[in-house]
């Protein structure tokens, strides 16, 4: 139990201190608790107002600093029975206090564990990073569990335990904003802001039209970005969003984006975009080597289901050597086409010889593993444009699907034995 729960009396000075701390945390735009408004005056000037609505509505988290300060001073001062603290606020403060203490403890534990682990691994304690921790855990506690989430991990507590929301109401128990009653205040704030901006921009457009001006040819550069996903949004707003909510968010934002003056709210829009990672940058093509006759070749290893394929791609005339036979090693046309496809795709059918060894699995697995191996080898010989084409064609994507295990009492992974009425 926290100290607050032991009947600490509240004083005005304590509360002022708490309010100051909270104000400082929430940012400069919020001037007072009571006078809080989510958005600046709508009917005002169409120009961008200085107190942007987006600033004021950053999702607020537990203000641990304020609470701890309050608690520190609490037991020093006398209780002031005149101040009435709402029960909800008190409960919130208790939770905040408990959470804060818990996180502090976890942080300490994590730090101790990190140092212990560094010592165990014989590494320098000061430079022992998170990556080193992950490697060590993987080494010390090797796990073959199928689900990655079930495998042992050691992460900083901030990543493991979810953040909690800041109080949405004051000491007197009144919510700061009416959106509190929607249940998803942060989410609806975003929608409200977007709609409000659209309206303001409409007004602006009307005014410009009246003056006979046309909108400039300005566009927001959104290449390589996409709307934040539903999960990302949930994480950002600290609220659980449904699919329907997310669709509505995207629709509203798209409508704002289509506005000819949307470039004026670029900052607001970009806050809800996330950058797509260029995948091809991550690919490490195998280094081409030279054999005795001066022909360059590349080697790779690929898998599909239980099949392993070791592929060598050598400059040549389009010959195939698959487990000692030519392409007719595969009796089915489909498999032969699979193997041929990467080379055919780049019009390099007669530029390379393929030497492959494929083991385990069936014909189809072997063909697809070899195809992936050939594709990987090819990356050593192609231009970046061709590489991008290959990636888009799905040639560089590993098929990570595996056979689902058979379940006890079932005839297969999912299928049940035939049921017969007795």
């Amino acid at each position: 139990m926290s100290e607050l729960a032991k009947g600490v009396r509240w004083t005005t000075s304590h509360l002022r201190l708490l309010l100051d701390q909270a104000t400082r945390y929430a940012g400069p735009s919020r001037t007072s608790w009571k006078g809080y408004r989510g958005v600046s005056s709508v009917s005002g000037s169409p120009r961008m107002s200085s107190n942007s609505p987006s600033d004021a509505n950053a999702p607020r988290k537990l203000s641990g600093a304020a609470v701890s300060e309050f608690v520190k001073n609490a037991h020093l001062n006398e209780a002031d029975p005149k101040v009435k603290v709402n029960r909800a606020m008190r409960s919130y403060l208790e939770r905040a206090q408990a959470h804060n203490m818990f996180m502090k403890q976890q942080q300490q534990d994590f730090e101790i564990c990190r140092r212990h682990l560094a010592n165990m691994m014989g590494e320098d304690v000061e430079t022992f990073s998170q990556e080193d921790i992950d490697d060590s855990i993987r080494y010390l506690l090797p796990s073959n569990l199928f689900s990655r989430r079930s495998r042992p991990l050691m992460k900083p507590p901030q990543e493991v335990f979810p953040q909690e929301k800041e109080a949405q109401f004051g000491i007197d128990g009144r919510p700061f904003r009416s959106l509190f009653y929607t249940g998803l205040p942060n989410y609806y704030q975003v929608l409200y802001d977007a709609a409000n901006w659209t309206r303001q921009l409409d007004d602006l457009e009307d005014e410009r039209v009246r003056k006979g001006k046309v909108p400039p040819e300005k566009q927001i550069d959104l290449t390589g970005t996409a709307w934040k996903s539903k999960d990302e949004m949930s994480k950002m707003l600290l609220e659980k969003i449904s699919d329907h909510d997310y669709r509505r968010f995207v629709l509203t934002m798209e409508r704002l984006l289509r506005h000819p003056y949307a470039y004026r709210v670029e900052e607001f829009i970009k806050k809800y975009r996330q950058v797509l990672i260029a995948e091809t940058k991550d690919l490490a093509p195998p280094v081409p080597k030279k054999d005795d006759s001066g022909k360059s070749y590349a080697e790779s290893h690929a898998t599909k289901k239980s099949c392993h394929a070791w592929v060598t791609l050598k400059q040549g005339t389009g010959k195939y050597d698959i487990n000692g036979q030519d392409l007719l090693f595969f009796p089915r046309v489909q498999d032969r086409t699979q193997v041929m496809f990467p080379l055919q795709f780049l019009n390099k059918l007669y530029d390379f010889d393929v030497i492959a060894r494929a083991e385990f699995g069936g014909n189809s697995s072997k063909a697809q593993a070899i195809r992936e191996g050939i594709s990987r080898c090819l990356t050593a010989f192609v231009t970046s444009e061709e590489l991008e084409l290959m990636r888009q064609a799905g040639l560089l994507t590993h098929d990570k699907r595996v056979k689902e295990r058979k379940k006890y009492a079932y005839t297969g992974a999912r299928s049940k034995p035939q049921w017969r009425k007795r």
Binding site: L327, R336, F345, G394
Partner: protein, 446 residues
């Protein structure tokens, strides 16, 4: 037939509309070529239906003016020389057409010509191709030229020379034999042709105990078929007046039936065809007599045998004790083994060997094995056949492959939009790996 493939997203060749539907109930071929208009407007220039009536075989290539716009106009390389003797290496990869009058005698592709069922079962792919193209075109390839060259330079006073044609599956051994059959017929040989030995061990028709030697197994209906086939191929020799092909002793079939000495061999064959019970023994007599007569006369015999190694491998014919009949108890096999021995003259023996057509457990589960004569003939066959001249049949060379694709485009068997393009040809080449049989299967669905 085949649905469009969805496993390759960017694939734009080799996929497309189904070209030919085979309606199995009526056994008629319907050209739809992916467009309904042909089916809707049948006319004389654009034959739509085909049935089992004798094919109108012609030497000249099919000329059809109504080529759809998307089909390229291609002409395969052909030669007008129809005598195989005159084919040289210059004609390698070219097509030539067997004249219809000879083709019907040698290959007997029309149902009226007798022994239709056996021929149908053995040469059906070639038969379909010939029927659809309305011509019996054969590609001139090196192994056949090689054997012909040897035969032309053979001294027939010596014991027969044996040839074993081998190669991997689908490389064209049987098609080499068809070319050689024409050659032998053209040279005036008596043909002792067995289209496929293994149908007797695997797809036999009727089984009975031999009356001639107890313990042996006869296949009466198969024997009758073969005798009809033999008669058809060699009618001109057998039906000649004053023929030298006569028996040297009297053969007694039963108390009342006998063939006296000095009667022509066609009498023996007639006995076999009319009385299926004696057909097996007739074949035995025929083989013995032919070997004897030919060695002394100016007749020449060509033994052409497909899948000869089946003569030395067990059959699938069941016995009462749940075992199968071994090869040395099937009387047909024993008769034809005699032709492979080199104890006679004025003849030539051309055989092929095959891994697939035979019934032998060790060979079926050999993990691939190989296609070489020593392996496939095994100890027993090797003892009979050695010494022989091995002739290797390779897959198509690039030149042959191109001509084959051209021929199929020309005869409109291959109607895919990309068939004539370089990309389509490349894909056919790589996917088939130049193997003729694989190429045929690939093209059959395009």
């Amino acid at each position: 037939m085949r649905s469009s493939v969805s496993w390759l997203r960017l694939r734009n060749t080799l996929t497309g509309l189904t070209k030919i539907h085979v309606s199995t109930s009526s056994r008629r071929w319907i050209f739809s070529s992916g467009c309904a208009y042909q089916q809707a407007q049948p006319n004389s220039q654009n034959p739509v239906f085909f049935d089992h009536r004798p094919a109108q075989l012609s030497v000249t290539p099919l000329v059809d003016t109504s080529v759809p716009a998307h089909l390229p106009v291609v002409n395969a390389k052909r030669t007008t020389i129809t005598r195989p003797r005159e084919h040289t290496l210059d004609h390698e990869g070219f097509y030539y057409c067997v004249p219809p009058e000879q083709s019907d005698v040698i290959y007997g592709m029309s149902p009226n010509s007798g022994a239709f069922d056996m021929r149908h079962r053995t040469l059906q792919n070639l038969r379909f191709q010939w029927e659809l193209a309305k011509e019996s075109a054969i590609m001139i390839r090196k192994p056949a030229l090689e054997v012909m060259e040897y035969v032309k330079n053979t001294n027939f006073a010596h014991p027969v020379v044996r040839y074993v044609i081998y190669g991997r599956e689908g490389s064209g051994r049987t098609c080499t034999l068809t070319h050689l059959l024409h050659f032998f017929k053209d040279e005036g040989f008596i043909l002792l042709h067995v289209p496929k030995i293994s149908i007797w061990s695997r797809r036999y028709k009727e089984v009975q105990e031999s009356k001639f030697k107890p313990g042996r197994i006869d296949l009466p209906l198969d024997s009758v078929e073969w005798l009809q086939h033999f008669l058809l191929q060699n009618g001109e020799h057998l039906r000649q007046p004053n023929t030298k092909l006569v028996t040297h002793k009297t053969y007694v079939w039963s108390k009342r039936e006998e063939t006296p000495a000095g009667s022509p061999l066609s009498d023996i064959i007639d006995v076999g065809i009319k009385r299926a019970r004696y057909a097996n023994d007739c074949i035995g007599v025929l083989v013995e007599e032919l070997k004897r007569i030919v060695s002394e006369s100016d007749h020449r015999v060509a033994v052409v045998m497909d899948v000869a190694n089946a003569l030395f491998t067990p059959t699938t014919i069941p016995q009462v004790d749940k075992t199968t009949v071994p090869a040395d108890r099937l009387s047909l096999f024993l008769h034809f083994r005699k032709t492979l021995k080199n104890d006679w003259k004025n003849g030539v023996v051309v055989t092929t060997i095959d891994r697939k057509g035979i019934v032998d457990l060790p060979l079926r589960f050999d993990g691939g094995g190989n296609q070489f004569p020593r392996y496939l003939l095994r100890e027993e066959g090797w003892a009979v056949m050695d010494p022989f001249i091995p002739v290797l049949v390779n897959d198509y060379s690039d030149k042959e492959l191109t001509n084959c694709i051209d021929y199929n485009i020309e005869t409109r068997w291959l109607q895919h939009v990309n068939a004539g393009t370089q990309k389509g040809r490349d894909e056919l080449k790589v996917v088939s790996q130049n193997n003729p049989e694989t190429l045929r299967k690939l093209m059959s669905r395009l």
